[in-house]
């Protein structure tokens, strides 16, 4: 009996202390960490069309079309298919593709959620946080300097 009453007393204590752990979104938009992986932003100025992102993407989400002179024509990213793993940002040598912290995007059809390079370029920052700046202190951390030996594949 005592255990039962203790359980009931515990829940009643929670009821009466008035604390909640839920927030009223969207009035109170949560702060996400600087490393949060949201939707991508693409910078055509920086991109060198090396196709590393397309190659590393685990489920072929990025599609790049270049002409015969390796000039970039299209950069399509299927935002709904993407698993937000950030490998494209990790391998990009010039920070042309980033995952912003923005998770507030919607689409009505599947086709709305395939972004071309204009749409990717226009993606807004979440709360105006530039992910590169937010991640700056530790971005270079995973790129090791190596032992000085050349390792040819």
């Amino acid at each position: 009996m005592i255990g039962l009453l203790k359980s009931m007393a515990t829940t009643m204590k929670h009821a009466l202390d008035g604390k909640t752990f839920t927030v009223e979104y969207p009035e109170e938009a949560p702060d996400v960490s600087p490393r949060f992986r949201g939707i991508h932003k693409f910078s055509q100025e920086r991109c060198i069309w090396c196709r590393q992102c397309e190659k590393v993407c685990p489920n072929d989400t990025i599609q790049i079309v270049t002409d015969d002179k390796r000039q970039g024509e299209q950069y399509n990213l299927h935002v709904a298919q993407c698993v937000y793993c950030r490998l494209c940002e990790e391998v990009c040598p010039v920070d042309a593709i980033l995952l912003t912290e923005n998770f507030e995007f919607t689409g009505d059809t599947k086709h709305d959620l395939v972004y071309n390079k204009e749409q990717l370029g226009n993606v807004p920052w979440y709360k105006d946080i530039d992910p590169l700046a937010a991640r700056e202190p530790d971005r270079g951390a995973w790129v090791g300097e190596g032992d000085g030996e050349v390792d040819y594949q």
Binding site: T11, H14, T20, T22
Partner: protein, 350 residues
């Protein structure tokens, strides 16, 4: 105490009301009671249940539609009533259709004799308490017929559990109520309420009223537990065990039928609360003038509702065999002991 139709007839100037007036006033008062109880259930179901559950679970619940989220009551009603009625092929049609109506009907019939204060009582027969138990136990017929007629195995299991539960806990319920009848000396509900007037004992500035709940808290606890079982609330919600049987006897019901079951369940909770209030908490008695009776009565049945929601958040559901053991071996013995003890005490004192 005069019942409401009689009081109204007198107020209208008829010392002995003719039949047509009596019937008319019966209908009017019944309508008022039914409306009040339906509104209470409608408030409790979509809104209060969620708000109270949210309090226990540290959440902010419904607060978007309307002030304090009260608009959800309208939204929920519209939503539930406009849902498609999906009727399984194997359902036994007349029984399947009648069963949902039995549950709210039995509860509303029970409310006819409960004194709700401020003179709001439809009838006051001499066997009031027996009538209430007789009529509210019709609900188990509704549950078992509904479950069996659905033609689904989950419903069958749920209905078998519910009827076993109802039968098992009916006896402790009635026997405990009988101990109250011994104390009050009458089955008439208004007499029971009247017998609880006055003060039991005064502890300084606080005067403890002569409610049977204070006189015999053990009986009140027994009755509350048996009432929880009758209604089908934690720890006894096996009939409708959501995580085991999907929906129990309600599984195959949708749309209006689901609303009726839902409503019926809440009405039964309030009816049980009303009986607990009448038997143990003095019914509409409370400080202040007599016309505030309805308010106190309402507070007491809402307190019972809150108690059931509290149990829901903290008390696990027990198994069918454990429930039957507790009912037939535990509560039955305790309620008979309570009855005999009360009889002895009443016999000695009176």
């Amino acid at each position: 105490m005069a019942t409401a139709p009689v009081a109204l007839a007198e107020w209208l100037g008829y010392a002995a009301a003719p039949l047509w007036l009596e019937l008319l006033l019966d209908v009017v008062v019944a309508g008022i009671i039914v409306t009040v109880m339906l509104l209470t259930s409608a408030l409790a179901g979509p809104w209060a249940k969620r708000k109270i559950t949210a309090m226990f679970t540290d959440r902010i619940a419904i607060n978007r539609v309307g002030p304090f989220g009260l608009g959800y009551i309208v939204a929920d009603s519209v939503r539930l009533l406009s849902k498609e009625l999906i009727i399984p092929d194997g359902a036994d049609r007349p029984a399947y259709d009648v069963a949902p109506a039995v549950l709210p009907l039995s509860a509303l019939l029970g409310f006819a004799v409960v004194p709700m204060g401020s003179g709001l009582q439809l009838a006051d027969p001499e066997i009031g308490l027996a009538y209430v138990f007789a009529v509210s136990s019709m609900a188990s017929v509704g549950m078992v017929v509904g479950g069996y007629a659905s033609g689904s195995k989950y419903s069958l299991l749920g209905s078998m559990r519910s009827v076993a539960e109802s039968i098992a806990y009916e006896i402790p319920l009635v026997v405990t109520a009988a101990s109250v009848v011994l104390l009050a000396g009458s089955l008439r509900l208004s007499d029971i309420v009247a017998a609880q007037q006055g003060t039991l004992v005064s502890l300084g500035p606080i005067a403890i009223p002569a409610w049977y709940g204070f006189l015999n808290p053990f009986a009140m606890a027994l009755f509350a537990v048996a009432a929880l079982a009758e209604v089908g609330r934690n720890p006894f919600d096996l009939g409708e065990a959501g995580t085991e049987l999907v929906g129990g006897y309600i599984t195959e019901y949708s749309g209006v039928y689901f609303v009726l079951f839902f409503l019926g369940e809440f009405l039964h909770i309030f009816l049980s609360g009303a009986i607990v209030a009448t038997l143990f908490l003095g019914g509409p008695l409370g400080p202040g003038p007599a016309w505030l009776g309805v308010v106190w009565f309402g507070a007491k049945i809402w307190a019972f509702f809150l108690f059931t929601q509290w149990c829901r958040s903290a008390v696990p559901r027990i198994r069918i065999d454990q429930m039957l053991q507790i009912g037939w071996k535990g509560l039955l013995v305790l309620s008979f002991a309570n009855l005999i003890l009360t009889a002895i005490i009443v016999g000695v004192i009176a």
